[in-house]
């Protein structure tokens, strides 16, 4: 048998490690290796195949801890294995693995009684991203004192500012992760929620918002001036109260989510 080139060896080895269970290995590879210990060529390759599954399942589980908790070990392992065999890791960094897991859950809808699972996964990915972001220099309440907010101001939000909405109370479910599984049905996860996620001094914070608050922040962070953002929010929520609006601006001033203010000058 001709000696395998390094490139052939790596491609055959990779195929063997990513193959589904109980499927055959290319004889070129089987004949080109010598197993260690008392392993056979097949079982030696199996050490690497299962090692790959375990490693990626654990990495996925670190990011999607709450999905794992909600699904339970058995279902989570099945889902993880199905995902990792159909979605190769392309990043050098193992902790990047799983970006497409929420979409996979969306399409796969593994449990009819847990319709929030994909949104929960989306929330966990968002949390992970924010956790690893660098701290930014934000405007302090003093700064806002010197430059009061006026209609023609546009706000620049820091990189860790994120808005999240779901028809399900995923944050409530997420907070329960790691507790007894029995606590899940007791929670009313059917309520929609609107959330603000941000990082301040290396700590990640999650705040509940009302729907109008969410959309006001959404318009502001999309580049609208304060006046424009208020107008757009009023169109959808004509009953929005002055208190709600002042709550949003108090939050803007005190959470450190803003990095710059820009004034629109009349042309």
């Amino acid at each position: 048998m001709a000696k395998l080139t390094l490139n052939q060896f790596q491609h055959l080895f990779s195929q063997a490690s990513l193959r589904p269970e109980h499927t055959g290995v290319d004889p070129m590879l089987l004949n080109g290796i010598m197993p260690g210990g008392t392993l056979t060529s097949d079982t030696a390759l199996e050490v690497y195949r299962t090692g790959h599954i375990v490693r990626l399942t654990e990495a996925l589980g670190e990011t999607f801890e709450a999905v794992w908790w909600v699904a339970g070990d058995e279902h989570y392992f099945e889902l993880a294995q199905e995902f990792l065999l159909t979605h190769s890791s392309t990043s050098y960094n193992l902790s990047d693995f799983g970006k497409r897991f929420p979409d996979f859950l969306d399409k796969r809808q593994p449990f009819a009684d847990l319709p929030f699972l994909a949104d929960l996964a989306r929330f966990e990915w968002l949390f992970k991203e924010v956790f690893h972001l660098p701290p930014h220099v934000s405007l302090t309440p003093d700064h806002f004192h010197q430059q009061p907010l006026s209609g023609n101001l546009r706000l620049t939000f820091g990189p860790s500012f994120r808005l999240f909405r779901s028809p399900y109370a995923v944050y409530e479910v997420w907070k329960l992760r790691g507790t007894s599984q029995d606590s899940l049905p007791a929670k009313n996860w059917g309520n929609p929620q609107w959330l603000l996620c941000y990082k301040h001094q290396q700590q990640v914070f999650i705040k509940h918002l009302s729907e109008p608050e969410y959309w006001l922040l959404d318009h502001l962070s999309s580049g609208a001036s304060i006046e424009e953002a208020l107008e757009r929010t009023l169109e959808d929520f004509p009953d929005i109260t002055a208190t709600t609006v002042s709550d949003v601006f108090a939050l803007i001033k005190h959470t450190g989510i803003i990095t710059h203010l820009k004034m629109d000058f009349p042309t």
């Binding site: 060896f9 890791s89 050098y92």
Partner: protein
């Protein structure tokens, strides 16, 4: 290798080992920096370890708390950066983005050692994230030497490459594992991170005498030692880093450290990680062996039964 590079790296190869903040008349024993120990280490307690090794990938893509912790540790200790994703033996070449991010981290942390493994980790579109075996062939040797030169030029410094545990090998080889390692180091100017647990695991799995491997490697090519525990799977030894160091591995360590007292030594523990003081205790065992060979006072002779007691 170009003559200029050869000169640079050969010069550095002769001064492998600890630099800033390290004492050559003391054992240089470090432990891995692991997130589970952050709460213990955050108040900056006194420890009995001389340095820390951090997994590069855990810090190069994060600007959050992990990086803060690493920078905090760096204030008090020398730090080695140990990667798992370089994939130096990949036929698809090196990832530029990886090298870029690694260089940024190196510039930020100023580590005394930058290391990775002598292996490949998967294909770029199908990364297996594992330390995979390579055939010890001339083809692999040439490719690795070329890649090491690229990395060292890009980082502007020497790297160390670690021998990995394997569960199969390619019999159609041009080199024995130890000669291959030695040749990579000599030709590329990199140093070796000799993992004595991996050496022992391979000796058992592939049936060779571990002392043949150990004695074949000139100590001036070695820049660091790893010690860890394996798991006996019945069919083979498996590199789990989940146990204390085994007596046979301590024996190998004793024989190496007797010849090379200046080498930094690291206790690796990645699964079932004990409390920090227990990890320190494991590091102290390595210190005792160092002291037996090089200390001012020899308290007790080191013999096989003592090693058993140590583990």
């Amino acid at each position: 290798m170009t003559p200029r590079l050869e000169r640079t790296w050969q010069k550095k190869a002769h001064r492998l080992g600890p630099t800033d903040g390290m004492n050559k008349r003391q054992p240089n024993i470090g432990v891995g920096l692991r997130p589970t120990h952050y709460p213990y280490l955050e108040p900056r307690p006194q420890t009995s370890v001389s340095w820390f090794e951090a997994v590069s990938e855990n810090y190069m893509d994060s600007k959050g708390r992990p990086l803060d912790m690493l920078e905090l540790i760096r204030k008090d200790y020398p730090v080695a950066l140990h990667g798992v994703s370089l994939s130096i033996a990949s036929t698809e070449g090196l990832r530029q983005e990886y090298l870029h991010n690694l260089r940024n981290l190196v510039e930020r942390i100023d580590p005394f050692i930058v290391s990775d493994h002598l292996c490949w980790t998967g294909l770029q579109q199908q990364n297996l994230h594992d330390l995979l075996p390579i055939p010890f062939t001339d083809e692999a040797l040439n490719l690795i030497v070329d890649h090491v030169e690229q990395v060292q030029t890009y980082l502007g410094r020497q790297i160390l490459l670690e021998n990995v545990s394997t569960y199969l090998r390619v019999p159609e080889a041009d080199w024995a594992e130890w000669d291959f390692l030695k040749e990579v180091a000599k030709r590329s100017g990199c140093g070796l991170l000799l993992d004595l647990n991996n050496l022992y695991v391979n000796a058992k799995n592939h049936q060779f005498d571990p002392s043949v491997f150990l004695e074949a490697i000139p100590t001036d090519l070695i820049g660091q030692i790893h010690l860890a525990g394996y798991t006996d799977m019945g069919t083979h030894l498996f590199d789990t880093h989940s146990k204390p160091v085994y007596p046979e591995v301590w024996e190998l360590f004793s024989s190496l450290i007797a010849r090379a007292p200046e080498l930094p030594v690291l206790i690796e523990w990645d699964e079932d990680i004990p409390e920090f003081p227990l990890l320190e205790a494991e590091a102290l065992k390595a210190g005792h062996i160092w002291n037996y060979h090089h200390g001012q006072t020899h308290t007790q002779p080191i013999s096989a039964p003592v090693f058993s007691g140590l583990s």
